[in-house]
Amino acid sequence: MLVHEFLVKSARKWGEKAAIIAGSRQISFAQLDDDSDRLAVEFQRLGIARGDRVAVMLENSIEFVIALWATLKAGAVFLPVNHATKGGTLGFILSDAEAKCLIVQPQFRLRVQEATLQAPPNMAVIWTKTDDGQANLSAILAQPHTRPTDTHLIDQDLALLIYTSGSTGKPKGVMLTHHSVCNNAWAISTYLGNVPEDIVLNVLPMSFGYGLFQIITGAYTGYTVVLERSFAFPAEVLKQLIKHNVTGLPGVPALFTKLLELAPFEKHGLLRLRYVTNAAAPMPPRHIAKFRETLPRVQIFSMYGLTECTRVCYMDPARLDEKTASVGRAMPNCEVWIVDADGNRCGPGETGELVVRGSNLMRGYWRRPEDTAKALRDGPIEGEKLLYTGDLFYADADGDLFFSGRVDDVFKCRGEKVSPRVVENALYECDDIAEAAVIGVADPIDGMAVKAFVVLRENAEMNVLAIRKFCAARLETWLVPKFVEFCQELPKTESGKITRRALRERLASEKEGL
């Protein structure tokens, strides 16, 4: 089975039913099938062949979805890039992936200009709209309908290449095959109990696995997805939830915090809401209590996943109240266990690294054999690979999983991975900064927030705003330190290495002292 066959089948079965609703526009499964054929034909005309990478930097939109299906139909690999990505990072990704084509909104022109300095010279750029006759998507979609040439893909071919920040610096491309994407759409929709009558509102960026899979699972099941571009205006998202009788809402804690503030005033409009899913950070128990009080019929799925295998586990909503902090057990067709530093399986209550086995696993990191070898290691069956997640968990006596931290210092802010090293590297680019260390601190809005400890050079004068602005020019918004503390010196190990652990411990003891 190939991923785009989901769409072709749904178009045959559901025809004029809305596949995607975005603002005042909507597109049916049949139209989406036809439009993605048109764009796939254009890709092939441009010389894009089986296995080539097509990058897309768009906000959540119908165009994004057309580009996804068109890329797969042309036999190419879909590479979604977060629309907030800085020009330099975009350039790195396009070059690393050797993208053959970039589809992008005209609003991002400046960043695209910066990125094309690094991007492959023969890369085609398709703008969603233009006034000056450059290649644009509207014109391509106005062409008569023809079908792309069959590229004879098999399910071992790559479907997705999703970049994720590494713990040491440059982002890494996670390769997912058609086989694993199909498996994951089936597994996820199975445990969520998705039906064609579902209407799912997706406000998560589709450049992430979590957001992207709403579309793929929608095509697999035949449900309608309502797209929102952003959660900047929560009252508007709430209005859409009510207007479209939404039944499923995937989110992260920050989204639910705001929604739960507004929901009590609108709860009669939300009676159709059947489930919410939470990932990226645990849902605080007070949120769960608030859901029970305001919207008692909503099932809450507390989940855990990572780009390297899309999804791992979920808590059975019926048991959530017994263990609000747990992400439950493995999803269908997936197996997990926990190992200690020596690779031995941990018993109940013992913390170790979570290992995942299943068809959901990535093929590896794009052109990073060493990183791949670290993450994917030999399994019990000759030739089989297991995913070492780098996430620390323990399981209780019932086998329910509890997240307890990272093997390295990576943490999540606003659902995005933050590698302290990446932020520190940016800080060290500043001539006035002698030493810098970055850790995550608990934050009621962002889950975790970036905190930088900085030692300035002698006679250097820099305030917090100047440091944040310096970082903002180099880093994506979620990586910019929210807090900056100036220090005389930073704690170091005996070998002279700055230790983030000591900073975390210092903060914890300060908190206790309060």
């Binding site: 906000e59 900047a232 602005k469 903002a472």
Partner: protein, 89 residues
């Protein structure tokens, strides 16, 4: 002498623009017009929207209700100015 106050009162668009450029981390080289969507130019995400709301409340001494935090009211500099006018009228 306090020279800032009259500028603020007469030209809220300057104050708001300065806040967005300084604090919401828009690439300062990017030009954006007073009618451009702040969402589209990448100046607003959910955290930035909350910061913007808090800034407007403090600077112009008004209270913005949850239901008023909408794209119609806040998604461009001109929309914010029109909204401010309606609140203070």
């Amino acid at each position: 002498m306090d020279t800032d106050a009259p500028i603020q009162a007469n030209h809220p668009e300057h104050v708001i623009r300065a806040f967005i450029v300084e604090n919401l981390f828009l690439n300062t080289e990017a030009e954006f017009g007073d009618d451009d969507s702040l969402l589209e130019v990448g100046a607003l995400d959910s955290t930035a929207a909350m910061e913007l709301v808090a800034f407007i409340e403090d600077t112009f001494n008004i209270k913005i209700e949850d239901h008023e935090i909408t794209a119609d009211n806040l998604d461009s500099i001109n929309k914010i100015c029109a909204f401010l006018e309606s609140k203070t009228a």
